[in-house]
């Protein structure tokens, strides 16, 4: 299985690295968006695809990363700011994960959504308290530099999800998804495993958040905590097939393409299509495109 997918992946990565040599600023920007969404969706799958705890608030990690990033960037430089953003998101996940992950099923979905909105308004109020509405990051890295870094993060997120899914932890997480009581009863330390997945799925989105602030040079809380980001992640994952590291490529590619065609002239149409895609996939193809293509069951020779 690894063999079958390694070569296409390496080819794709090589092609992605080559994009800037043939494309102009605009296309590099599009490729950057694509890489960003892949990184975010892969991270989401590590949590939600594997454990079944569907997060509809993953933007909270992105937003926190962005906030920490903009606060640190001018003080300590880009590298440390991005690292700090990832760290902060991870720590935040550890802090809220324990109580949050005790809530199950649809309540967890709503909880994550509420948590992200809550954090958004907290940050808005904190910023307003500091007399800020938005912040600027002038003189950040070029789009090209950002592209390579985010591409690296997308690759890292994919690899992380791929290997965790096949690791000891991955078995535990999927057992939790299927039946949490049974998993606990056969010795899986469920609270610990869920928390680990939660934290692991938070770090890369945090780093991506900081980088995307550098990309737009602009930070505004309601922008970086936009719930549409969470919504898009879930839709991308479900379109692609949500419990596999291969899923997001198709979902992200499709939606980024759609978005590029529509966002400037018909943003509402884009959102409507997004909603319709989600409805259609939940109703008709819960396994996503990948699920359809690779009709299961998956062979599991370790």
């Amino acid at each position: 299985m690894i063999g079958r997918w390694t070569i296409p992946l390496i080819v794709a990565l090589a092609a992605a690295c080559g994009v800037p040599f043939v494309a102009g600023d605009y296309l590099i920007g599009v490729a950057l968006s694509l890489a960003m969404w892949i990184a975010l969706t892969e991270s989401w799958i590590l949590l939600s695809g594997l454990t079944g705890y569907v997060s509809l608030g993953h933007v909270v990690f992105y937003g926190l990363g962005a906030y920490v990033g903009i606060l640190l960037w001018g003080e300590v430089g880009g590298v440390l700011a991005v690292g700090g953003a990832g760290l902060a998101s991870g720590v935040f996940a550890l802090a809220v994960g324990y109580p949050a992950l005790r809530v199950r099923g649809p309540y967890f979905v709503m909880l994550t959504f509420g948590l992200a909105e809550f954090c958004k308004y907290i940050v808005i109020d904190v910023e307003a308290g500091l007399g800020q509405f938005s912040r600027l990051l002038l003189g950040g890295p070029s789009v090209l530099q950002l592209y390579y870094v985010v591409l690296g993060l997308a690759a890292a997120a994919t690899a992380l999800t791929f290997f965790v899914a096949r690791s000891r932890l991955g078995y535990a997480l999927r057992a939790i998804r299927e039946n949490e009581e049974a998993a606990e009863t056969v010795g899986v330390p469920v609270a610990f495993c869920k928390l680990a997945a939660f934290a692991l799925s938070a770090i890369i989105p945090g780093m991506v958040g900081a980088l995307m602030v550098a990309r737009s040079s602009y930070f505004e809380p309601s922008q970086v905590f936009d719930p549409i980001v969470s919504f898009t992640i879930v839709t991308m994952a479900i379109i692609g097939g949500s419990d596999d590291a291969r899923g997001p490529f198709l979902g992200a590619a499709l939606l980024v393409l759609l978005s590029e065609i529509l966002w400037a002239r018909a943003p509402q149409v884009y959102m409507i299509l997004l909603g319709i895609l989600l409805i259609a996939f939940v109703l008709f193809a819960p396994g996503g495109i990948t699920g359809r293509l690779l009709s299961r069951p998956v062979k599991v020779k370790p």
């Binding site: 569907v54 509809l56 109580p99 949050a100 005790r102 809530v103 099923g105 649809p106 309540y107 979905v109 709503m110 909880l111 509420g114 948590l115 909105e117 809550f118 308004y121 907290i122 808005i124 109020d125 307003a128 919504f231 879930v234 479900i238 509402q268 149409v269 959102m271 409507i272 997004l274 909603g275 319709i276 895609l277 989600l278 409805i279 939940v282 109703l283 819960p286």
Partner: protein, 296 residues
Amino acid sequence: MQAILSWQLLFAALVTGSIYVLVALGLNLVYGTMRLLNVAHGDMVMIGAYVSYWLFTLSGLSPLLSMLIAAALTAALGALAYVGLFRRLLANRQLVQRLEGNSLLLFFGISIVIQNLASLAFDSTPRAYQYLDRVVAIGNLGITENRLAALIVTGILSLVIVLFLRFHIYGLAIKALMQHREAATVVGIDVERVQILSFCIGFGVAGLAGALLSMMEQITPFMGFPFTIAAFVVVILGGLGNLLGGMAAGLLLGILETYGVALTSPSLRSVLIYGVFILVLLVRPQGLLGGKRVVR
């Protein structure tokens, strides 16, 4: 500080609370009878508000009349959603296993579609009209007529619904379905019809609440979501499926929000609502006031 003691504030709290009561009631019906988590519920409020806005702006029709049209329209949408989407969901065994989760994602999709259709049709600029906006003075309490009207309508409607559920045959069937689904089918209740009815009442009441709201607040295509959140808080506080508990909780949230904002700052309003929302989910998703089931 004096503001806290003013009747004005209490009145504002009651108006907000009564709107929450109506919105949450519909959510509770749909969840209670079918275990569907309708996060598009607040969008019915938005649709109802636009119906009344346009009818008033174009033909001068009083929102107190057009609220019936708004309710009928959203009720029809409810029936449509049920027949078009949820019958399929409820009929598919594989999907029913994860019914609550799937319904949540479906309704999120629907919500996004509705909001953006509205934004496409009406654009996202806030709109308002003026109707019954004279101030009547009762003692030193100044009340806008439209708020008074809204409070009266919500009060009457809540009463009607309570009586309907207690005495009408369909009301009883809905209650039976909420308490025990299988038993309800055994005693010969036409589950399908009751479910459609729940959808219609639930959506219709939300639409009506929106029509009332349009007299008092600016409306936008994205105004619905906070009501969804508030409705969830109310339903969870009052106990899923517990209608009377929900009514009490609706008023409680109205008071909590209005006084919370008055004591702190309007900028904390969202933090307050989402804070309560998170807390309620973390502490006790099965409900604080009511037990696990029970409609009295």
